[in-house]
Point group: C2
Chain length 199, copies 2
DNA sequence: GTCTATACGCGGATAGAC
DNA sequence: GTCTATCCGCGTATAGAC
């Protein structure tokens, strides 16, 4: 046979990787099937032997991207809360992440497009986000801190990327770090008590 | 004369309002000049008597939207910090705002598109955001709190809107409120001292 | 599984009549 | 200022040969 048994699944992974980078850079809607397949080294007709539609690609893409993000969170080795937070800030709230959306988190780049997508995409998003929430809540004390942490990270990156000047990007990123420190390491004891107390 | 002297500027404002709502709902890139002018009750050829290109429309749109948002911030009458924060949460971190992007803040809906736009758009964004930062810093103590507040609001709305289930949207919005309370009202004294102290 | 060719619609933008 | 008509390119998707 001309194509190995694993060729299709290998090619699919490659397509997802290319589509992820292109989408985060230009927006999913702006990425054409034609340009995508050209970047992958094949012609556009071949696309539909891997995905039945562009929406199916989006579903697979969001799932893969958020699974990758989850792996990053799981990979944080620190037990101490302050050290854990520093580790996350050092990988997420950085100028490199601001400058290179194609290699970064899908949420600041594609969040608004997920919000406009159909329910099948949103269901995949929700499932992945709940995993992340639970993982973060076990570290940070409660769901409030988990969602607050994620919203701060995503929001800061979004606001920073739209800035034309580097020093303003830097200011926002730095503010995100400090704000999280204030919110998480300085109020942790209180909030943990409040979470287990009566309500 | 068939058209009053103010007709053009009136029509321009109307076009911006329609374009703003449509863009926040579907994404700016997805809004066609044709559909836009149809929604405004005229034909597509008339568009270019108001804007020289679609990019010029985007610039005018972002400026108008962020000026509107600034007016909302200025309109908060409360002196007490906790009351001020409640007022902001009650108008921004709500289910109504999650459900109706077309009537809400431009940043969660269009932030990623601003980040991909050319520098002329980003400059307008930066100018407006610096005004908002300064206004917020005077209320919240320092730039860190100002950016942190904005990032939390924008990020929470973005994450919530992509959720398919209402109760999850509600959970994220509610977490945003509580997180801001913890971060701003509970650490305000410390951070204000830190901001004026040596460093 | 991948190729070429193609159908069909919508995107932004322009020309010239009224 | 607005209209109609039109140019041209790119979008998704499909059919059929190899």
């Amino acid at each position: 046979m001309r194509y190995s048994p694993e060729h299709k699944s290998t090619k699919r992974k490659h397509l997802l990787a290319v589509a992820g980078a292109e989408s985060k850079k230009k927006g999913f809607a702006a990425v054409g099937v034609d340009g995508l397949m050209q970047a992958a080294g094949v012609t556009s007709g071949a696309f539909y032997s891997h995905f039945s539609s562009k929406n199916e690609l989006f579903k697979a893409l969001i799932e893969m991207e958020l699974q990758d993000s989850m792996q990053m969170l799981v990979g944080n080795p620190h037990q101490d809360l302050a050290a854990w937070l520093d580790h996350e800030s050092d990988r997420y709230l950085t100028m490199s992440h601001v400058r290179h959306p194609e290699a970064g988190c899908a949420l600041p780049a594609l969040g608004a497009e997920i919000a406009r997508a159909d329910d099948s995409v949103k269901q995949i998003y929700q499932q992945q986000m709940l995993e992340a929430r639970d993982m973060l809540a076990s570290r940070l004390g409660d769901n409030t801190a988990a969602w607050g942490f994620m919203a701060q990270c995503v929001g800061a990156l979004l606001l920073a990327r739209a800035m034309p000047d580097e020093d303003m990007q830097q200011e926002i990123i730095q503010a995100g770090r400090q704000f999280l420190q204030r919110a998480i390491t300085e109020t942790d004891g209180d909030s943990a008590e409040a979470a287990t107390g009566p309500q």
